[in-house]
Symmetry: C2
Subunit: 370 residues, 2 copies
């Protein structure tokens, strides 16, 4: 096998691979490379002290002046010269223009293909603890939302809280403040009421309705570890309609059934299709009409770690088997433009040792807050 310099360029905050490799969290991009047993982070003067204090054991931290460079290209040429190797293995999303410049200067590159660190998919105990800590903050945020909704008065079609009409924005701020008080960063909390909930990614805006589902999808990140949590619950303040109750029961059954399939050797696609079958058993079908898509039209789940969406996927296209060590969401949903959406999401850890999957989520399940 040809010897390569494995190369990453990214910021600790936005590039999960470089954070995984180096342990360093920075707002600005830096260079990391591995050659033989040498692993090295090349930081700007501004980051060097902080980088040294949080680098993983065995990672050498040097200022960019160490490789004599003011430009990235010069630094990479110096690295190649020092390693006496001009072939770099880079991640698929390596920046194209820099790759072109490297080639024009006699360096060679190839893309690593699916995953620069495939082992990121399989979590160790420290990583499971980090995800669990973020998940606890998500649950605290949900508990706060339930407290607010319980405190609300129903005022016709609206909800009134602290003498104001309750909006998505107000409820989101309360959830997110609770997350902050737990030392985590809220990132894009969804509080989508009524028909807005029919769009799975709609964050929600304006007045929140009484007697209609409110989808709350809460995914905080730890600023210290970089790991994420992910939780979705859907509740109704007041009375749910018949169809909403049926959809809730169907989604809950689909989630619980799918969770029993999280074990070594099961295929992501099989788990997704099993959840879909439960929904269909309850006569909830998926399709598209002139009002848009309806039913269950997203993947059942995804890996969670240093990225909020990472491998493995539990989706119709996921043709790989679970191996043990994965943390995945299981989040079936039903969405109908006529009345909105129901999504219920738990976070599951499948241990590497072959023992049973563990649900990392502790938030309770209920539909109505009376």
């Amino acid at each position: 096998m040809k010897k390569n310099i494995r190369l990453l360029i990214g910021s600790g905050e936005n590039c999960a691979d470089i954070r995984y490799a180096s342990g360093i969290s920075t707002p600005d991009e830096f260079i990391w490379f591995e050659y033989g047993s040498r692993r090295c982070a090349v930081l700007s003067p501004l980051e060097i002290d902080r980088g040294k204090s949080c680098a993983k054991p065995g990672v050498e931290v040097v200022p960019d002046s160490f490789f004599g460079g003011t430009s990235r290209l010069n630094i990479l040429l110096a690295i190649a010269a020092e390693c006496q190797c001009r072939h770099f293995l880079v991640p698929d999303d390596f920046p194209f223009a820099l790759a072109e410049k490297m080639r024009a200067n006699g360096l060679e590159l190839s893309a690593a293909g699916s995953g620069f660190f495939p082992e990121r998919e399989f979590k160790n105990d420290r990583e499971v603890a980090a995800v669990t800590a973020a998940q606890r903050a998500a649950e605290a945020g949900f508990a706060k939302a339930v407290e607010v909704l319980t405190d609300c008065e129903i005022d016709g079609e609206n909800l009134r809280w602290n003498d104001r009409i309750l909006t998505s924005e107000i409820l989101r701020a309360e959830i997110d403040c609770e997350i902050l008080r737990h030392g985590m960063l809220p990132t894009g909390t969804i509080c989508a009421g009524g028909k807005q909930g029919a769009q799975p990614h709609n964050a929600g805006s304006g007045t929140l309705p009484a007697n209609a589902p409110i989808v709350m999808d809460i995914f905080p990140r730890s600023p210290e570890t970089g790991y994420w949590g992910d939780l979705t619950r859907t509740v109704v303040r007041g009375k749910a309609s018949g169809i909403v109750k049926q959809a809730y029961e169907a989604v809950l059954e689909a989630r619980e059934y799918a969770k029993t399939l999280i074990k070594k050797g099961t295929y992501g696609a099989a788990i997704h299709c099993a959840a879909e079958a439960v929904l269909e058993k309850h006569h909830f079908f998926t399709g598209e009409n002139d009002r848009g898509q309806f039913g269950f039209f997203h993947g059942l789940g995804h890996g969670v770690g240093l990225e909020i969406h990472e491998s493995p996927r539990l989706s119709p296209r996921a043709r790989t088997a679970l191996q043990g060590g994965e943390i995945v969401t299981v989040e079936p949903g039903l969405y109908y433009p006529e009345w909105g959406g129901i999504r219920l999401e738990d976070l599951i850890y499948l241990p590497q040792d072959g023992s049973e999957a563990v649900c990392l989520t502790r938030a309770p399940d209920f539909l109505e807050i009376d």
Copy 2:
């Protein structure tokens, strides 16, 4: 000039160019292209409805099935076939592996070089309003911090608030909650007390000291518009030492003097060096010793818009002149491992019409909270 398909791939949340081009904010990546007068966003089924509702006028929004593709490569091949053009102009950070696959399938690519949309540097009124709105949230966060610090009691070397020892984490949570209540997202608020403040990017952790500087760098983002604010103030709860007072006065004078240089035709490097000269006039010098760097060792400022750090830069290397339309930070700082740091940051808008630069920041300047 050869006719190209201009191509972007990114998420609305993380890729400023695609948000600028399309108006669409998504957590997941999508394809955008421009060919002749046609501008088109190619979205997943999950995003299509929301994409249509927020796309900029003139931007066509189609599902990826429109280009018959399940893979990105297939979609791009279909776009090339429909446009009868196989040459793509892409941003410098276009993903390398996809570029390789495109070439292997007969498509051609070239990198756009410095900035895919150079016009992003020059803000229209709507953009100035969006940055200003985010800046107001930053100011509210700072006002909240001042309220907390004023409420504190000095307890030896520590600060006590609500019967607890005040920490960076608690103060940050209070600032960030205030930002959330203003409808903006906090992103990585710095509250670094004492010697931690000597590292410009240290977010701060643990107990906050009395009688020592606390650097607060607050940069919220609007979830609706995607534009950022950016504010830094440094305060002391209690009494500042002589050297801290002198450093504060030097930094304040450097900032105010540099602001007078924000006008059409001035070079970024000249403004940076002018600020540095003011600091040196006050006998504050920059260098490096065995304890690390000291003095003023970062750039004076940067553009703010859909990215928190964007063109233009006000740094020793910034060899371009201001043209009008820029929004830039002016944020000199002094950092000494012996006692910590002082940084004071305002946000300045230089109108396109040749009129005087406007300070968008309203936060007051003071050092001590007695």
